[in-house]
């Protein structure tokens, strides 16, 4: 079987792990080949890729949506062509009305924000000042994680933590570092950095070090548990991250697609859980991702 | 065949081959798409002479010179430098072998200083191998002193007038201390005074044994400066003679292949009502208090030295750079003209002095060039251009003006300068103007075409058009004008009637 895969963005660390998980898994299966395309964060390009897949006669399609609100149109195109479709990682807006032979495999974004914020809250003892670094503003993951952070910090246990600054660093490490430096130079004081992803958290960490701030005075939290992040945690610089099982999602998506091709039944929603990573359980994750 | 670099090395060593001719070209052929620019052409330059090249526009003069200067390579034929066969494949080859050229079009870098322009690629170096700007400026000052040029070495070339830029080109060419100096129409932007200056320079170079090729369309210059001349026609070599052996009419016959009886076919036509009347027109810092009138059928010539502000007055009249004060009245009614669009609406037309910068749409074809002004208010219905009717008009006009082109779809940049000029005159004649302003209408134009343009201007005057003609060529102003207005440094210094006007009187007013 040939499966066409459209990934929102190739140069995204997390999605790279997911993509590789997928192709590594496909190689272990006999007669399954993947045609992976880069949608370059462009909804229209993604839609076109699906149509190109259909024209090329693939057996199934896996989509990591650029824009989760644009999935209705894609679902329709695939179901009109009677080709199975699996969404991965990002939750399609039409999840509750997915046509026949379509499914969704992911983790719940809000969980990432929640786990991250709860751990920060715990480490701070429910009191202090935090800064929030957001991913690209147009990205759903960024918005949902940020919203979850707000929700957690609004709970009774964590009300004592105030968000003193909130800005975007576009998922980027250097932008994260520059943002922190700009804040420090403005005299902003904070006890925790809550970042939407690890890259920005690492940038924050670098900037704080460069400014000579002791790392044990600041709680730094990210999401993804990338190799760099785990290394930083091992060094004692990063305090919190959240493991999203990218490879697991990729494998799940391929499995679901193959089942749909064979006409077997598949759950509409397959959730791969997020897992909190702290220095305590760091060792369990160093071999993953 | 000897390589250019070997020859250059020989020249540097000071060895002087004793050949009769400095530079020769034999059997040269050069083709451009659709045009044979040169066909089996021969040219020989003796040392210590000024050799003029004559020929109509498009005869191939510049093309031959560009071959000698290493810019084009000939399709066929042989170039010999001091008796040695050589293939010049770049301008650098030519320069290093002692061939320098002043091009027909100015070739300067406007944002660089005079000194930087002159010494480009040969800048004096000082400490650490860095360029020594002080030395470069001193070198320039020395050169200017030798050539008696009064220019600031540190001025930006872009701030200079066309005439002064031409002087910079001349100084630059001289600075190469070459054996052969090619000058392609160096005086087309100069007035009498700088021309005299240039001739002095040329004479002293000739005495040093340098061979000079001199291209011009001005007959009088030929007899004043050239020792011998060669004539080309339609890319073919016609002949070479000593300039003392022939008369002006002989040369014209060789160039054009027919007689031109009347150089300035000015007709006496009845002068009508006042069409244009200008009162106290001023443009701050440029010209002041210009007042004059032009009547139907009248040709008003404007004379003056280069930089006297004649072109600026024309531009102000046409709304290109509107005047800051003063009034313009047409047929007795005051009008406000602050854009060319309004000028055209008032049935004015303006042939600008710089064909390349403000005239031709170089990459468009001849018809597109001719029709652009008339489209302002004619041949357009509901926004659509009435192509068929317009094409016919353009064909007619091109035929009437004898524009030499394969067809009207030809890019105008492939036409010779004179034919470009005729097409531009056609552009304005199509608008059926009642006031026509011509700024240097025959600059760089050959004798035949010049006579034709003059005939056309006369014809328009006969049809009642009021004409203003700016010209730096004295015979042209004297020959064509009913009245001459003379300007000096932005002011009018006097008017002369056709009957009383002489070269001396005009010069007196112009230099006052």
């Amino acid at each position: 079987e040939t499966i066409g895969v459209s990934i929102a963005k190739f140069d995204d660390n997390f999605l790279t792990v997911l993509r590789n998980g997928m192709s590594d898994y496909a190689q272990t299966l006999n007669g399954v080949s993947l045609q992976i395309e880069d949608a370059q964060n462009d909804v229209a390009k993604q839609q076109s890729q699906i149509q190109n897949f259909i024209a090329a006669g693939v057996d199934a399609i896996i989509v990591n949506p650029v824009d989760t609100d644009a999935t209705a149109a894609m679902s329709k195109i695939a179901s009109d062509a009677k080709i199975p479709l699996v969404y991965v990682n990002r939750q399609p807006a039409n999840l509750d009305s997915l046509p026949e032979k379509q499914a969704f495999v992911a983790s719940e974004e809000t969980v990432a924000g929640t786990l991250e914020a709860q751990e920060v809250c715990r480490l701070l003892g429910g009191k202090g000042k935090a800064v929030v670094m957001m991913g690209e503003l147009s990205n759903q993951g960024a918005r949902m994680r940020t919203a979850a952070v707000h929700d957690v910090l609004a709970t009774d246990a964590c009300k004592g933590i105030s968000i003193v600054e909130e800005q975007t660093a576009n998922w980027q490490r250097t932008e994260g570092a520059d943002l922190i430096t700009n804040w420090l130079s403005a005299g902003t004081e904070f006890d925790a950095v809550i970042a939407n992803n690890d890259e920005m958290a690492i940038g924050a960490m670098q900037a704080l070090k460069a400014a000579g701030r002791p790392m044990d005075k600041v709680v730094i939290a990210g999401v993804d548990a990338t190799q760099d992040a785990l290394a930083a945690m091992a060094a004692g610089d990063l305090d919190v991250t959240v493991f999203q099982n990218a490879a697991g999602q990729g494998k799940g998506a391929v499995d679901a697609a193959l089942k749909l091709v064979k006409g077997e039944a598949v759950e509409k929603k397959v959730y791969i859980p997020f897992e909190l990573v702290t220095p305590a359980n760091l060792k369990d994750y160093q071999a993953k991702n | 065949m000897v390589s250019p670099s070997t020859m250059a090395a020989v020249r540097k060593s000071g060895a002087i081959p004793n050949a009769e001719f400095l530079l020769t070209a034999e059997g040269v052929r050069k083709e451009f798409p659709g045009v044979v620019a040169l066909d089996d052409v021969t040219f020989r330059l003796k040392r210590g002479t000024v050799h003029a090249l004559m020929g109509e526009n498009g005869a191939g003069k510049s093309t031959l010179m560009k071959i000698l200067a290493g810019i084009y390579t000939p399709d066929r034929g042989q170039v010999r430098l001091k008796g040695v066969d050589i293939e010049l494949s770049s301008p650098l080859d030519a320069l290093e072998n002692g061939i320098a050229m002043i091009h027909q079009e100015l070739n300067l870098m406007p944002f660089m200083t005079v000194a930087e322009n002159i010494w480009i690629r040969r800048e004096p170096k000082g400490r650490f191998g860095l360029i020594d700007h002080g030395a470069m400026n001193r070198q320039t000052a020395d050169l200017f002193k030798r050539l008696n040029i009064a220019l600031d070495p540190q001025a930006l070339v872009g701030d200079l007038s066309v005439a002064n830029r031409q002087m910079v080109e001349i100084a630059k060419a001289v600075s190469y201390e070459s054996d052969v100096l090619i000058m392609d129409e160096p005086t087309s932007a100069l007035t009498e005074r700088e021309v005299e200056h240039l001739f002095a320079i040329i004479r002293s170079l000739r005495e040093q044994g340098i061979g000079i090729v001199y291209i011009t369309h001005k007959m009088n210059e030929l007899f004043e400066i050239a020792d011998e001349f060669s004539v080309f026609r339609d890319g073919k070599y016609i002949g070479t003679h000593a300039s003392t052996d022939v008369t002006r009419d002989d040369i014209i016959r060789m160039m054009v292949g027919r007689e031109i009886t009347q150089m300035f076919p000015k007709e006496e036509v009845p002068i009508g009502e006042t069409v244009l009347s200008v009162r106290n027109l001023s443009l701050r810092g440029v010209f002041t208090d210009i007042s004059f009138e032009v009547r139907a059928g009248e040709i008003l010539g404007i004379a003056g030295l280069v930089g006297s502000g004649r072109s600026n007055v024309a531009e102000a009249l046409f709304g290109v750079t509107p005047a800051t004060s003063g009034t313009i009245a047409i047929n007795g009614r005051d009008v406000v003209i602050d854009t060319p669009t309004k000028a055209i609406a008032n049935r004015m037309a303006f042939l600008t002095e710089d064909r390349k910068d403000t005239g031709c749409l170089l990459i468009l074809n001849v018809q597109e060039n001719m029709q652009i002004a008339v489209l302002q208010d004619k041949f357009v219905k509901y926004g659509f251009v009435q192509q068929a009717a317009l094409a016919e008009q353009c064909e007619d006009m091109a035929r009437k003006l004898r524009v030499k082109t394969p067809n009207l779809d030809e890019r105008i940049e492939n036409l010779s300068g004179g034919n470009q000029q005729k097409a531009l005159i056609g552009r304005w004649m199509l608008t059926d103007p009642r006031i026509l302003i011509l700024d240097e209408p025959t600059r760089g134009i050959d004798v035949g075409a010049k006579a034709e343009i003059h005939r056309l201007v006369s014809e328009m005057a006969r049809n009642g058009v009021a004409i203003i003609m700016i010209s730096s060529e004295m015979p042209e102003v004297l020959g064509m004008s009913d009245r001459i207005m003379v300007m000096h440094e932005g002011r009018v210094t006097g008017f002369l009637d056709r009957a009383e006007a002489t070269q001396i009187k005009v010069m007196e007013l112009a230099a006052r």
């Binding site: 190739f10 045609q35 395309e37 880069d38 370059q40 964060n41 462009d42 909804v43 229209a44 390009k45 839609q47 076109s48 149509q51 190109n52 259909i54 024209a55 650029v66 824009d67 989760t68 609100d69 644009a70 149109a73 807006a93 690209e136 503003l137 147009s138 759903q140 | 798409p33 659709g34 045009v35 044979v36 339609d234 292949g257 854009t339 060319p340 000028a343 055209i344 910068d357 403000t358 005239g359 031709c360 749409l361 990459i363 468009l364 597109e368 652009i372 489209l375 302002q376 926004g383 659509f384 251009v385 064909e395 091109a398 035929r399 524009v403 030499k404 082109t405 394969p406 067809n407 552009r427």
Partner: protein
């Protein structure tokens, strides 16, 4: 033609009768060549025809129709000797704004709950209008302040992207009415593209608007002296380019059935590439819409071909860059050769 020469020439050198092919012909050959290479490789490696597949033929053009709509405007701008870097951002901005008044009342999170279920003409007109406005601002800046088009439109590019992010604080705008979505379905985007191309093909070749556009690009100063209101005309051209980018934004939103602030990123470069591949000169004065259409189709064919041949995504971009360059090199080379021969 040969007759004319005799008429105009004072001495009739009869020119070699040159049969003139339109300049887009070159690039059309490049298109055919690319398609044939794919066809051949298809038979060899995939055992399928590349071209004999209506679905593929449709998607080839469908996927670039938005780029094509923009490119029609960009072509006009480039013919005047300018450039428009803002079109991609204007697509994003107009997609957001027009979608925000195209939402169905059934959608729970409408941007303007009181403006739901509008007739489809309202969001379309609004999108086009906003695009027009953005283009008008570009034109005003360029014509009045004389700053380089590159900078004026770069400023607009950055600002318009900012506006589209700010407009709903990054939230996508979804739940659009079926009426509105309709123009994005099936081959409607292709139809819109071709109609727009046809209109401006005619406008450029047969109207005064077109003649003035070329004249300004060929020599702005000469155009001014010939009576053209250069400033006014430039404003028109940039406004039209903006309007078309606005239309492209509407089509993009309708096609995705949602609007998102990141829409249209880098489209300006694809549109410029399509235009230049199609033979329009970045120096101004030269270019045709037919060429631009072919250039656009080349981009589409290339993309479909990659998927068809299962070219690894990592190589696609590398090869895409090569093809863009090669197409223009071939064009330059053939033109030079024709000029010589």
């Amino acid at each position: 033609m040969a007759n004319n020469a005799a008429v105009h020439g004072t001495s009739p050198i009869s020119p070699p009768t040159r049969r003139k092919l339109p300049s887009e012909f070159n690039i059309f050959l490049v298109l055919i060549a690319i398609a044939l290479v794919y066809e051949l490789l298809g038979w060899i490696f995939i055992g399928q025809s590349f071209l004999m597949n209506t679905q593929r033929l449709t998607i080839m053009i469908l996927q670039v129709s938005v780029i094509g709509i923009i490119a029609v405007g960009v072509t006009q701008v480039i013919i005047t000797g300018g450039i428009d870097l803002s079109s991609g951002s204007v697509v994003g901005m107009t997609a957001m704004i027009s979608a925000s008044v195209a939402q169905a009342s059934t959608w729970p999170r409408a941007v303007y709950p009181s403006l739901t279920d509008m007739p489809f003409i309202v969001p379309i007109a609004l999108g086009i209008g906003i695009g027009l406005l953005a283009g008008f601002v570009n034109g005003q800046l360029i014509a009045r302040t004389k700053i380089p088009p590159f900078i004026a439109t770069l400023g607009m590019m950055v600002s318009a992207r900012g506006i589209s992010k700010w407009y709903t604080k990054g939230q996508p705008v979804s739940g659009l009415t079926d009426q509105f979505n309709f123009i994005g379905t099936g081959i409607w985007p292709v139809v819109v593209f071709l109609v727009v191309a046809l209109i401006f093909h005619i406008a450029l070749r047969y109207t005064r608007y077109g003649k003035f556009t070329y004249a300004i690009g060929a020599n702005m100063q000469a155009a001014r002296v010939s009576g053209i209101n250069v400033e006014g005309h430039l404003i028109k051209v940039y406004a039209i380019a903006g309007m078309l980018a606005g239309l492209a934004g509407v089509v993009t939103a309708a096609r995705a059935q949602t609007a998102q602030s990141g829409m249209g990123v880098m489209y300006e470069l694809d549109a410029i590439a399509a235009t230049v591949i199609g033979g329009t000169s970045l120096n101004g004065g030269v270019g045709r819409i037919t060429g631009t259409v072919i250039g656009t189709v080349i981009l589409g064919v290339m993309t479909s071909g990659f998927t068809f041949l299962r070219v690894d995504a990592y190589y696609q971009e590398i090869v895409k860059g090569l093809i863009i360059v090669t197409a223009v090199v071939v064009d330059v080379y053939r033109q030079k050769k024709r000029a010589k021969g």
